[in-house]
């Protein structure tokens, strides 16, 4: 990909603007339509067709209906992608499923998540759907959800499945999902209009009674009918918007998938199977989400302008063509080598090389992830795949080596947690400690699905324990702190603890927070003040007082708050901050594995998935 992760995010955000414009257009046209039907109606006495008050009544009424509907839907969807999955009849897949095909699906998803530096998303299977289709929903990589049809699970080969999942991951990494969810909210608002219309029609046509009431009733019925027709036009508009937005994204996602897997054959195979078997969905709710799917989910009658997906033949053709072309893309590959150089501590790394790695996937990384998963000891995989073990595993990874620290931690947890859990954590600790630094984050990512299975009460206790462990002042290493925070951040939206969307903040507002973060990272260096300044060069609007913070002002609580603020960073600022952090860390000429992992964990706060060292 020639543009970097943040440029793509910006682009996706701008598309949201386009969406709003289309939507307003649609609403204006609908209001005009209803107004004219009413204004030119038989009850008009003045002979003119300009009634500002009627216009106001109509506008307010319709905007109220559409606004109410959209608002309700969007607030339902604010819980994240799982709402969409439930709506479409999905069943959550267990990582240790006894079904061969499901396990294969989980393995493919896990590899891809680890390779791109994203938490393993929950995977849903739509049991009632025989066609081949898939979707990704959510606001950000941290609350993404992947859904596949039963047809997908049973009828595709591993390569083809990988192609489809890669396509979905590219949606996650490209920032498409936020846009898609907003679209769903809007579509629902317009659907509400038809609901109101139906009610009006029913009242109008079926009201009996006095002659006077009959006239009113008939007028109401006509109004209802008019609204209904216009409502259908509104749905057309909705489809149009869905189509306009999603067709282009589908081509982009296809080519990204090829880039990720270096295996167009997989994706082409899947598309060919769809051509044979079909990707239509049975569920009635498919219309609301048709723009989110891998293949067209509605029947083929809506072709041409309203098609949310390009025709399959065209997609296959484009993929085959790109396969035959000389692919000059060495850009991601070269960066992978540079990053690999980090591991041996050789190169003085350029900040922009690391930043360029964000949101990238490559076949090499997928292979590494595959190897990593294969080589994991079974005690680890058994532990992280179910809730009890997953909680114990997280505690195990946070238990310090230093005996004083460990004593303190166990004491803290001892009063709050069940003894069996702590015993398990202590048992697992040496096994996890034997894993290299760069395995820690992937293991946390692997544990996410199991952690989401905690009950609300269990989650609350767990989250509070993690917070206490993390913010025990200066008693915990920066890396463990970042890990604890990462876990809480990824779980919170799922349990309704925090909204998936954070308000955006300006660069100016975020400078104090950036200072805190840069200071903590600078302290990992032999020369903190110089390291700080090297990084600060990348940040915009630095004032003369922008300096390394004194040690006692840089507590974990402060860092925590700073990271909370930074979650609202705009893409451009996030990019600068990542570059600043990288430069600060590499001031001593070297980024070792440990430092890189800290960077990865911090980037996660910015919803910026940095892939692991290859």
């Amino acid at each position: 990909m020639s543009t970097d992760f943040w440029a793509r995010q910006e682009k996706a955000r701008r598309r949201t603007g386009v969406l709003v414009v289309y939507f307003c257009l649609a609403v204006v046209l609908l209001i005009t339509g209803v107004y004219f039907i009413l204004a030119l109606g038989p009850h008009d006495e003045t002979g003119s067709w300009w009634h500002p008050d009627l216009l106001m009544l109509v506008s307010v009424g319709m905007m109220a209906v559409i606004g109410l509907g959209s608002f309700v839907r969007l607030s339902q969807l604010s819980a994240g992608g799982s709402v969409v999955a439930d709506m479409l009849g999905g069943r959550l897949v267990h990582p240790e499923s006894r079904d061969q095909n499901e396990r294969r699906l989980m393995n493919v998803v896990q590899e891809m998540a680890i390779a791109s530096g994203v938490s393993v998303p929950p995977v849903y299977v739509m049991d009632d759907e025989a066609g081949i289709n898939a979707f990704a929903a959510g606001y950000a990589p941290s609350d993404a959800v992947i859904g596949v049809t039963r047809g997908c699970v049973q009828k595709l080969t591993r390569d083809e499945l990988q192609g489809v999942i890669a396509h979905e991951f590219s949606h996650i990494l490209n920032g498409d999902m936020r846009l898609n969810i907003k679209l769903m909210g809007i579509i629902f608002g317009i659907i509400c209009l038809t609901v109101v219309a139906r009610i009006l029609m029913r009242i109008g046509f079926y009201s009996g009674g006095s002659r006077d009431r009959n006239q009113a009733g008939a007028a109401l019925g006509v109004l209802g009918l008019a609204l209904f027709v216009l409502g259908w036009i509104g749905v057309f508009f909705g489809n149009l918007i869905q189509a306009a937005i999603s067709r282009e994204r589908e081509h982009l996602a296809d080519s990204s998938a090829v880039q990720f897997t270096r295996n167009p054959a997989g994706l082409v195979g899947a598309l060919k199977k769809i051509a044979g078997i079909g990707s239509q969905l049975e569920t009635k709710r498919a219309g609301e989400a048709s723009h989110m799917f891998f293949g067209s989910s509605l029947s083929r009658t809506w072709a041409g302008l309203f098609a949310t997906h390009p025709p399959i033949e065209e997609r296959i053709r484009l993929l085959d063509a790109s396969f035959q072309e000389e692919v000059p893309e060495s850009a991601p590959q070269a960066s992978v080598e540079t990053v690999a150089g980090l591991a041996s501590g050789s190169a003085a790394v350029k900040a922009k090389d690391v930043a360029a790695q964000a949101g990238q996937l490559s076949a090499a990384q997928i292979n590494h992830a595959h190897q990593f998963l294969e080589c994991l000891p079974s005690e680890i995989t058994t532990a992280v795949h179910e809730p009890f073990g997953a909680v114990a595993a997280i505690y195990a990874m946070l238990l310090g080596d230093d005996p004083d620290l460990r004593q303190f931690q166990l004491q803290l947890l001892g009063t709050r947690e069940h003894p069996a859990l702590l015993a398990e954590a202590e048992k697992l600790q040496p096994i996890f400690a034997a894993q290299p630094s760069r395995a820690k984050l992937p293991l946390v990512e692997l544990a996410m699905p199991a952690l989401r299975q905690l009950s609300h009460a269990q989650y609350r206790d767990f989250s509070e324990n993690l917070r206490q462990l993390a913010e025990a002042d200066r008693k915990i290493d920066l890396f463990e702190f970042a890990l604890a925070r990462l876990v809480r951040r990824h779980l919170a939206p799922h349990f309704g603890d925090a909204p998936a969307e954070v308000p955006r903040r300006s660069a100016f507002q975020l400078m104090p927070s950036a200072r805190i973060i840069l200071s903590s990272l600078a302290r990992l260096n032999p020369d903190p003040a110089a390291a700080f300044h090297q990084g600060a060069r990348h940040l915009p609007k630095t004032t003369p007082g922008f300096d390394l913070l004194p040690e006692n002002a840089n507590t974990m609580v402060e860092v925590s708050r700073a990271l909370d603020q930074l979650a609202g960073a705009r893409p451009a600022f996030a990019r600068s901050l990542v570059k600043a952090c990288t430069d600060t860390i590499s001031h001593d000429g070297v980024i070792d594995e440990h430092e890189y992992e800290i960077l990865r964990a911090l980037c996660d706060t910015l919803d910026c998935p940095l892939p692991p060292l290859a």
Partner: protein, 219 residues
């Protein structure tokens, strides 16, 4: 100031088309919007009940995975012990029987975790299995050769570990069931629950005191 309802000449001209729509019609339009609101609210409550029900169904799936693991361990346990416990075939037989009954109850419950009767049957079968297992373990204590057998040791270890996981999963399930039941019983969701037939769900509890002791943890 003249009366509030006194309209000036221009105002009356503007108001004509609205008045022409007649009070009944406006009233009915408002009723329709109100109707939409009701539908959205009722829909919201219905969806919440469905969501909470799905949550506890998923939570049961977690228990089920661990129960299955336990059911798979037990035949191994019995096989290993057989050689040493030649005169205790009754105890072994009881364990195998109880295990088979529990396994089939678990299958029924997994198919429909919302069914109170399936849950109660499973609880009964699990209690019985717990009793049979604890008898077996007490017997094993008396045979140091068996107790020291490597295979036996690792199987026992796995059994304890699985018990812990079951207990943890049970806690999660019961939390989820409580949330669902509470929502189902509070106003105004209880009306919707009544209309659409949402039934109370059963907590998964272990009734036998001996079982609880055997597990060595208290959740």
């Amino acid at each position: 100031m003249q009366g509030l309802i006194h309209l000036a000449e221009e105002e009356r001209k503007f108001m004509k088309p609205i008045l022409a729509l007649s009070g009944t019609v406006i009233g009915l339009i408002l009723a329709a919007v109100f109707g939409l609101l009701v539908i959205l609210i009722v829909g919201g409550m219905y969806n919440t009940l469905v969501k909470l029900r799905n949550l506890f169904k998923n939570a049961f799936a977690q228990i089920d995975v661990q129960l299955k693991r336990r059911y798979d361990l037990i035949p191994n346990l019995v096989e290993t012990a057989k050689g040493y416990l030649k005169h205790e075939s009754g105890t072994l037989e009881a364990v195998t029987q109880a295990r088979n009954v529990a396994a089939s109850c678990a299958q029924t419950a997994a198919a429909n975790p919302a069914s109170g009767s399936a849950m109660r049957e499973l609880m009964g079968a699990e209690a019985a299995l717990g009793g049979a297992l604890s008898k077996l373990l007490v017997t094993v204590e008396a045979y140091p050769d068996l107790k020291g057998n490597q295979n036996m040791i690792s199987l026992m270890e796995e059994l304890t570990s699985t018990e812990n996981k079951i207990a943890f999963a049970r806690q999660a399930f019961n939390d989820a069931v409580t949330r669902y039941n509470t929502k189902r019983e509070t106003f105004p969701t209880n009306i919707i629950a009544g209309i659409f037939g949402f039934e109370a769900a059963e907590l998964f509890e272990i009734k036998r005191a001996e079982e609880r002791e055997n597990v060595k943890v208290s959740f």
